[in-house]
């Protein structure tokens, strides 16, 4: 292959999926000359699996991406065809938005944003090699011999690395949705000394809308009131499309059991670990034998096509079994399958080889984001892409990297988990992974993160000012509620009685009343007649802050303790072999992860509190040696 010099950029992004798009946009928006490569221009921001974005943890990530100046929320607001707020019966910390996107519209809208972006080139090419000089990345080589130079390279290759498709006993090298795999890049990574792992994921069949009998299913419409994902989006009035719920049955399960010997998951063909939260139907049937039926959601893939996604029927059984099993489901008796389900195996980079900035420890300027780091999910990918894009720029501009802590954002939890603990299955964010869940809410991502986004340069002054103004209004209103005292008289107590709450004997502030579980801000109006009407997002924040004040305070105290440990930095050039008194297991783990802080070190499995004490004493000794000259 003849090579030629094709171009010089500041930042190269390899892959234009959900991670790649965010990385490329962030880099270009920060003023750096950027190029994004995709294996197929028609699969930019492809939603290769389900047509939905959001849900608990994931919806939080989308809001955080928005608060930091990413694109996902804005793009989703433009293209969703249904939106729902989940967990509304639970508290505010775990409420989460989830939307059905029009896949094609989502993809092309995102691609168009990239095309319109200043400083950004989008090129269809497969990258086969990473160029490194010493321990620093200098560029990439395309399959057709093009050599591109750059100061930073961000790998966002998704499931394409040595992708292998399985459908029954048929298997072949391939990417998702009939796309090409990237077979050569893995070798380049191995040559650079990276340790690789192999995971598996899968997808269900898609069927033609007109072959479905919806009358036998339960309709799942969107919310009446649409709440957008992005803080920049105004009110949305849009006709929404429903999803449909049906169930598998004993007949379905019998078909699966009888054909298990033909399932690559059970015949030993597939070796990579799959995600436990998204098992194929054959795994569900085998692992939960007592369950006579499983939920199956029928979700539209878009408005201008007839494809319907069968959530819950992910499978790599042979095609004939897929047809039989699908048609055994109520309402799908005459289903016409348009695409068949498959499993895909792919290579990923063991993520403990990355710094919390998502830069590889071994190679300067090489960043990785998304499924290449062993995660799954569009939202997880986009979040990492944004952070990798930002940090590549910070490095080039010689600015401080952006590392969000576990107490700052779900993004912080996600990345810390990856680089500190590694992955045993495709990693998905869950709210239960966030120890500071009460503070990390989807309703306050703007107030948590916009300042950081503004400092980075991805949030405009205008957006930032709006957020500050909102914050001010919230604080002012809480203060006012705390200062307005009701006197115990018959008029007041009559009103309280109407609100089904106990009367007062001593003067009580509106804030104290709002703390009562039976009182809402709305119902307080009776006793607070002269109050100004406030926007609903302000009222929501006031209610949360007052009702959960004690709990939030406790969590903030915990966060302060946590931050103390996070702020105890470990120098990057530390030599763990020099430290007397570390147990061998701890030494090996610390050498592998190379934590940036005492806090991070304490989260590594196999490192005990006594090891942390030893480490603290060593660091103190080193510090004294340095200061004493």
């Amino acid at each position: 292959m003849t090579q030629y010099t094709a171009g010089t950029y500041d930042v190269i992004v390899v892959g234009a999926g959900h991670a790649g798009c965010e990385a490329a946009l962030a880099a270009a928006r920060l003023g750096l000359k950027t190029v994004a490569f995709t294996i197929n221009l028609d699969s930019v921001a492809l939603m290769a699996c389900n047509p939905s974005i959001g849900g608990p943890g994931k919806g939080h990530l989308v809001r955080e991406i928005d608060a930091l100046g990413g694109q996902m929320a804005i793009n989703l607001d433009k293209t969703f065809i249904q939106v729902r707020m989940l967990n509304t019966k639970k508290g505010p910390a775990v409420r989460a938005l989830r939307a059905q996107a029009d896949k094609i519209a989502y993809q092309y809208s995102m691609r168009y944003s990239l095309e319109l972006q200043e400083n950004l080139d989008l090129i269809q090419e497969e990258i086969v090699k990473i160029l490194v000089k010493g321990q620093k990345v200098i560029g990439v080589v395309t399959k057709t011999g093009g050599v591109y130079y750059a100061n930073a390279v961000i790998l966002t290759t998704g499931v394409y690395l040595c992708g292998k498709i399985y459908v029954g006993d048929v298997s072949y090298n391939g990417g998702p949705n009939g796309l090409f795999p990237a077979n050569e890049l893995t070798n380049s990574l191995i040559d650079l000394g990276f340790e690789m792992g192999r995971f598996k994921t899968g997808t269900p069949p898609r069927i033609h809308k007109d072959s479905i009998d919806f009358s036998k299913m339960i309709e799942q419409p969107g919310d009446k009131e649409i709440i957008p994902f992005s803080y920049t989006t105004g009110k949305i009035n849009r006709e929404q499309v429903s999803c449909w719920l049906t169930y598998s049955n004993e007949e379905t399960h019998k078909i699966i059991e009888e054909n298990l010997y033909r399932a690559p998951l059970y015949s030993g063909q597939i070796k990579g670990a799959g995600p436990r939260y998204c098992p194929s139907i054959e795994v569900k049937v085998v692992n939960f034998k007592d369950k006579k039926s499983h939920q199956i959601f029928i979700e539209p893939e878009g408005i201008n096509n007839s494809e319907m996604y069968i959530q819950g029927l992910s499978t790599s059984l042979p095609v004939d079994v897929q047809i039989q099993m699908t048609r055994s489901v109520k309402g799908l008796e005459n289903a016409k399958i348009m695409r068949f389900g498959y499993a895909i195996e792919y290579d990923f980079v063991i993520p403990t080889q990355l710094k919390p900035t998502l830069e590889a420890k071994k190679i300067d300027g090489l960043y990785m984001a998304g499924q290449i780091n062993g995660t799954s999910g569009y939202e997880e990918a986009a979040a990492q892409g944004l952070i990798a894009g930002i940090n590549a720029c910070m490095k080039i501009k010689e600015r401080e990297p952006v590392v969000l802590q576990r107490s700052d954002a779900y993004i912080g939890v996600l990345i810390d988990d990856l680089v500190t603990k590694g992955v045993k299955e495709p990693y998905r964010i869950l709210t239960s992974r966030a120890e500071y869940r009460l503070v990390l809410r989807q309703d306050n991502a703007d107030m948590r993160l916009m300042e950081i986004g503004h400092n980075i340069g991805l949030i405009s002054d205008d957006r930032y000012k709006k957020m500050i103004c909102k914050k001010g209004m919230i604080e002012k209103e809480i203060e006012r509620l705390g200062s307005v005292k009701l006197t115990p008289n018959s008029d007041t107590n009559e009103k309280l009685k109407k609100l089904n709450t106990s009367p007062i004997n001593t003067p009580v502030t509106l804030e104290e009343l709002l703390k009562r579980p039976e009182i809402s801000y709305e119902s307080l109006k009776e006793l607070d007649e002269t109050r100004e009407e406030l926007p609903s997002e302000i009222i929501e924040q006031v209610e949360i802050a007052v009702t959960y004040e004690g709990y939030i305070k406790r969590q903030i105290n915990q966060i302060n303790r946590h931050k103390k440990m996070e702020n105890k930095r470990i120098p990057e050039d530390i030599n763990y072999d020099d430290i007397h008194g570390l147990r061998i297991e701890a030494r090996e783990k610390l050498k592998e992860v190379m934590p940036l802080s005492i806090g991070q070190a304490s989260r590594i499995s196999g490192v005990t509190p006594a090891d942390i004490t030893v480490l603290l004493i060593y660091l103190e000794a080193q510090k004294r040696k340095r200061t004493s000259g």
Partner: protein, 462 residues
């Protein structure tokens, strides 16, 4: 400025030596906490105490006003102290039980038990200990940690671990259900029933409370080491008990079978509380009343932590003696050869051969000879066998107790949140905290377990 903000306390002298020990505090709150429990003997204002001077007074439980011990107290003002923080040393006289109680009293107002070697660690981090000693400091901490671990494990072998494990399992199943509801709202998982959860939490709290009452050194300190005086009729068991008690409690006669009931008495041996159980002498007999007593004695044989097997050296060994020798040979036993003031009918060697490896002490209970030797033997044996006489062991037990206490408080908060109709994720916060806290006892705090358990218990897969 100290690098670490919270205040720690520990018993910091080897225990047992003459019963004198020091309870030490370090940190910002040390003075405040010590002043709350110390009542000076003189009328002097405690706030005007001079730095680094010994003052005599009592430690008094501020709630019950009970005097715990007469002590000498010293206040050390930072930074000229071992840890460079404010420190207090309380020199106690009343033996182990008093030291433990004093430590308990200090563990309030956010004071916590020091980690192994933590005083030394603070001394170093605060610049008190020379750089050249860094390695030595690490060794001290390592050694103390290992020791504490061994002690904790030894105590855990007593079944605490299993019970804490059970509690954690209960809590985990509640947490997992709530988390599955939260993270997978669209799966067909039934919503966790809050009233059911409330009942579970309340039940768990009761179990935990009982465990706290009976935990570690606490139980031994409160209940004593149950010690059974076992022997045939008229070998002088009651006289032995009286000699140990120095009081005439049990009826002493030379008619076999006078002590028909079980007698429990407490004796403090160098700070260790020993609960002595004196039973009817064992003699296989047709006498019904006595055989009930004997049966009861045999019950105690299984429950007792230690046995003082008493043999009358002034008469020949009987079949009944041999029967008992067989019963005690696998137990934690001290052999008491009684009536050595009389002409001996057999040699000590005979017993040594029958009960190899057991400590043998010669006494004359009636003449109170050899009683001090017996006490020393009991003390040594307890230290060796139960090992709780060590400061590390006490602290390990106390730490476990404190952990359980904290867990219980978290459950209280969870119950309170439910009463206030807080949403489920707020309630879960404290349940999870209790679960995590208890993990410190079982040595397992990985929260990944929650996620694993979700997938094991619920079919997730939308």
């Amino acid at each position: 400025m100290s690098a670490v903000a919270d205040t720690i306390a520990a018993i910091s002298t080897p225990i047992g030596e003459g019963g004198i020990g020091i309870v030490r505090l370090s940190g910002d709150r040390s003075f405040q906490v010590a002043k709350k429990i110390f009542k000076p003997r003189s009328k002097r204002d405690i706030d005007k105490f001079e730095n680094r001077k010994l003052y005599l007074g009592n430690i008094v439980d501020p709630e019950t006003h009970e005097v715990i011990d007469e002590v000498l107290i010293v206040f050390f003002k930072a930074p000229h102290t071992y840890t460079r923080e404010d420190m207090v040393e309380i020199n106690c006289h009343g033996g182990l039980m008093a030291q433990k109680k004093i430590l308990d009293l200090t563990l309030r107002d956010e004071v916590r038990i020091a980690d192994p070697g933590e005083f030394t660690k603070r001394a170093f981090l605060n610049g008190r200990i020379d750089l050249s000693q860094a390695e030595a400091v690490i060794d001290v901490i390592r050694a103390k940690t290992e020791r504490a671990l061994v002690m904790a494990n030894r105590q855990l072998a007593g079944g605490l671990s299993d019970r804490v494990q059970d509690i954690r399992k209960n809590l985990l199943s509640i947490i997992v259900h709530i988390e599955a509801n939260i993270d997978f709202p669209e799966e067909d998982i039934p919503e966790a029933d809050l009233s059911h959860i409330k009942q579970e939490i309340e039940d768990t709290r009761v179990v935990l409370d009982r465990l706290i009452q009976n935990s570690g050194a606490g139980k031994i300190m409160r209940d004593g080491i149950s010690t059974l005086i076992l022997g045939n009729t008229n070998v002088g068991k009651s006289s032995l008990l009286n000699a140990l008690l120095k009081e005439e409690r049990a009826i002493v006669t030379d008619i076999p079978g006078t002590t028909r009931d079980v007698i429990e008495e407490y004796v403090d041996i160098k700070g260790i509380p020993i609960k002595i159980i004196d039973t009817a002498g064992i003699r296989r007999t047709k006498d019904k009343v006595e055989s009930i007593g004997i049966r009861r004695a045999m019950d105690y044989l299984d429950e007792a932590q230690m046995i003082l097997f008493t043999v009358d050296a002034s008469r020949n060994m009987t079949d009944d003696d041999l029967y008992l020798i067989d019963k005690v040979k696998d137990k934690f036993t001290i052999v008491v050869l009684n009536k050595v003031d009389l002409p001996l009918k057999f040699e000590q060697k005979t017993i040594e051969e029958l009960l190899p490896g057991k400590k043998i002490v010669k006494v004359s209970a009636l003449k109170e000879e050899g009683i001090d030797e017996l006490k020393q033997a009991i003390y040594d044996a307890v230290e060796q066998e139960i090992g709780f006489l060590d400061e590390h062991a006490i602290i390990a037990g106390e730490r476990q107790r404190q952990v359980m206490q904290k867990a219980k408080e978290s459950l209280d908060l969870a119950i309170e949140s439910m009463a206030n109709q807080m949403p489920v994720e707020v309630v879960e916060l404290d349940i999870r905290q209790a679960w995590e806290k208890l993990g410190e006892i079982t040595g397992d705090t990985v929260s990944d377990n929650i996620i694993t358990a979700i997938f094991e218990n619920f079919c997730i897969g939308k």
